[in-house]
Symmetry: C2
Subunit: 120 residues, 2 copies
């Protein structure tokens, strides 16, 4: 399945609770993305900001010997983001409205990650 | 209710899935903590590492205009951590075994946060 289709599926399954989904490399460059209603005005810029956060988290995890980081969730006033680390080079992120169901988002992202991993 | 009691309650309610819980200030200094089986060898050092991560996240959130950050979840090979921001000075963290129920942890932490906020 194409990346775009996988990302679209997640967003559709969230039934109006998602703002978008993106597949990025570790430098914060978008490989593929799906945006919905434009509430997160520029999903690419925002995801790039979070890619920097992920690097900070990896650094901290190494420092405290936490082992590999697989998943990060951040809830802010304007949105929630769930990120899954696919491998050392790629991660996938799902943006939800603040009221979005995080448990469902995690589940969908886990399934999508398995599909994307087959392709990369 | 004393902070120690509130933190203990969370850990007990997790029924063996928690590694510990801690109330910290924004500089990473522990106000109160509860540790369980020592799998997270030094919860205070680890939480201090995460307090640095929180600062990085706050900075990124400001940059991308995400609004106030209220909650962060990070899953790594050795543990999961759920952090809730109480106010501009304090946060509370719950450490779970990698298999720990994150949804339950979030719920307990939310309840505990409301109790702690009454006292600080």
């Amino acid at each position: 399945m194409a990346f775009k289709e996988i990302l679209s599926n997640i967003v559709q399954e969230m039934k109006g609770e998602a703002l978008g989904s993106i597949l990025m490399d570790k430098e914060g460059i978008s490989v593929e993305k799906v945006e919905t209603d434009g509430k997160v005005t520029d999903i690419e810029t925002i995801a790039m900001g979070y890619s920097v956060v992920l690097k900070d988290i990896f650094k901290a995890a190494e420092m405290i010997k936490a082992g590999e980081v697989s998943e990060v969730f951040i809830k802010s006033a304007s949105h929630s983001v769930i990120m899954r680390v696919l491998d050392e080079n790629y991660f996938i992120a799902l943006f939800l409205k603040p009221s979005g169901n995080m448990g469902k988002g995690r589940f969908l992202l886990r399934t999508a990650s398995a599909e994307i991993k087959k392709e990369i």
